[in-house]
């Protein structure tokens, strides 16, 4: 006997097409003010990048991984989250962390190679940045699981790139989440590159999204990751679904990393300028601007004002960041344990710190 024992499909969602036209039937319920807010957050992300890169080039900040081109995936995800939802993130999702309350000057401070940049005070609902690839995914699953155990109602969102989906921690974490119906939303920024290695060398799988089906995660969708409405809509749906207790959900955002992997990288070594230009034409901010214009939500004065406001926000943060006094070298020892152990106290004393 032969038969098909299971069959799967990956839905794809695009709401705002590349020409900036929206499919009204699919539009999420967003007010004009909210749509403008999405635009402003993307502008903020772009400006943050520009300033961060400039600071790095001027030697005022360390290595920095830019977001340019991926603003819709990053901002759309964070905007879909409710205030009490938690974000777990990796180095290319700085804007999402800041939208979840991470102070701008602290994020800058971290990239200025000061660990106090991850030690912000207050009520931000974002975990720490993960540098090793995919490692934050199991953290998010554990964090979300604890929330479920404590009957706390928020969900946890974890973001990662396409390279991360080649790693064991990705598979292991998805598999855990599927098995125990953990309220977590996985958001992959499939930006086509892991440093220099293209998506085609990362996996032979037709979609990244289908990897989640293998973990029994049925709420799985692929979206145009440069379409802010699609990202927002898919992540909102995913959050609503996981909060109902139907287990985890997965959103693959098809996007493109237009800049270098980090300021220490040079993309001209491994890809053609035409490829990057082609994606420039799919720019998420330009696309939303066309929509805003068509809906009478945009004029040059509005955008100038938004740019000015966002630039001021980052500039003020740069000032604050640069005014932070250099860390006391003792701090190397301070936070290793709740109380420094005797051996550490001894080393500290011997070193004269």
């Amino acid at each position: 006997m032969q038969k098909i024992t299971a069959q799967f499909q990956i839905p794809f969602l695009q709401i705002l097409d590349e020409s900036g036209k929206a499919d009204q039937a699919l539009m999420p319920g967003l007010s004009s003010g909210q749509i403008r807010e999405l635009f402003e957050w993307m502008v903020f992300a772009r400006i943050f990048d520009d300033i961060a890169i400039r600071l790095q080039r001027e030697g005022r900040m360390g290595t920095y991984p830019p977001m340019v081109g991926e603003e819709a995936a990053i901002v759309g995800t964070a905007y879909a989250m409710k205030r009490n939802d938690w974000l777990f993130w990796s180095y290319r999702e700085n804007a999402a962390a800041m939208m979840k309350g991470a102070p701008v000057e602290r994020i800058l401070l971290y990239w200025a190679s000061d660990v106090r940049g991850m030690g912000w005070p207050g009520t931000a609902r974002a975990g720490f940045v993960s540098i090793p690839i995919a490692t934050q995914i199991p953290h998010a699953v554990g964090f979300a699981w604890a929330a479920k155990m404590k009957s706390e109602k928020y969900a946890t969102v974890v973001m990662f790139g396409d390279g991360a989906t080649s790693k064991g921690d990705f598979y292991e974490a998805l598999n855990f989440a599927g098995t125990f119906k953990i309220p977590v939303v996985f958001v992959c920024r499939n930006d086509q590159y892991a440093i220099s290695v293209p998506r085609s060398l990362q996996t032979a799988a037709e979609t990244i999204a289908q990897k989640s089906l293998a973990a029994g995660i049925t709420h799985t969708i692929q979206v145009d990751g440069n379409d802010i409405f699609a990202v927002y809509s898919a992540v909102s749906d995913a959050l609503a679904s996981v909060k109902k207790g139907s287990g985890p959900a997965f959103v693959e955002c098809i996007t493109y990393r237009r800049s270098h992997h980090t300021t220490a990288d040079d993309w001209t070594h491994y890809r053609a300028a035409q490829e990057v230009e082609a994606w420039q034409r799919k720019d998420p901010i330009d696309r939303l601007r066309i929509y805003l214009k068509a809906n009478k939500l945009w004029n040059t004065r509005y955008e100038k004002g938004a740019v000015k406001q966002m630039r001021k926000k980052v500039d003020d943060a740069v000032k604050k960041m640069e005014a932070v006094k250099p860390a006391d070298p003792k701090e190397m020892f301070t936070f290793l344990f709740e109380k420094p152990t005797p051996d550490l106290l001894k080393q500290m004393k011997e070193s004269g710190l």
């Binding site: 030690g119 993960s130 090793p132 554990g142 964090f143 979300a144 292991e172 936070f335 152990t341 005797p342």
Partner: protein, 324 residues
Amino acid sequence: MAVLDMVQSLNRALREEMKQDRAVLVLGEDVGKNGGVFRVTEGLQKSFGALRAIDTPLAESAIIGVALGLAMNGMRPVAEIQFSGFLASAFDQIINHVSRVRWRTCGRFSCPLVVRVPYGGGIRALEHHSDSVEAYVVHTPGLKVVAPSTPYDAKGLLTSAIRDPDPVIFFEPLKLYRSIKQDVPLKYYSIPLGSASVVREGTEVTLIAYGAMVHECLKAAEIVQDRYSCDVIDLRTLKPLDMETVSASVEKTGRAIIVHEAQRFCGVGAEVASQIMEHNFLHLQAPVMRVTGFDTILPLPHLEKYFLPNAGKIVQTIERVMSY
């Protein structure tokens, strides 16, 4: 008070802590219904349910990574890695994250996580099942590392590890799981992390060990007792290391031998020897010596007895040190 072996005393510690703190949970491969392949978690699922004694998928990195997330969000997970060789799968999480959650968030988050790892030879287990991997772990800042040698200590130390606000890697010597029984209080008591114990008093040579090797040292001390007087120190915690106890003994005896199953090169013995040199140089009558596994792969059980230190090898080294 009851007469318990180490498996039972560890089980008792887990049970007591799960009873007194709802945040404490155990997770790992086969730890639920089966009670763990060595039965350390036996009956916990029955008493506390499948949400607190959790059978996980077979994935060490996620067991530790997920446990970290649980710990960040208010739980007190005790994760079991089934056999020491499989700890390697979880190294990324342990070394890159568990050890530095508090440090890299300046205390915004912490990671009160215990990772239990059965380790060491002597039970003729399969390849990858008996390695002594403690040196990889003690080298990493931000972790506390424990290795008990008796049922009494195992319970008191595990209790402290679970209550500790920071991550603890808890090595359980396989050979001692069932081989020693002892009176153990069933009620709460704890043994502070970072305190060694003098398990035999002597005046001429200090034997320093942890885990199963403590008992080989005691045997060796017994064998030579008519000729040499041995102080035997059980480190109990490998990090932070209780050098006060070690130094006090070496100042008294002037001679030190460190014994461990793990390979010699950059093992715990190297650190202890080095610290003795730094602190007790003028008291030394002889070079600090080591009795350890060879710098070879731990052989399959067929040859294991040639690899592992034992009382005989320790006696030979005592002779060398005493006649130096």
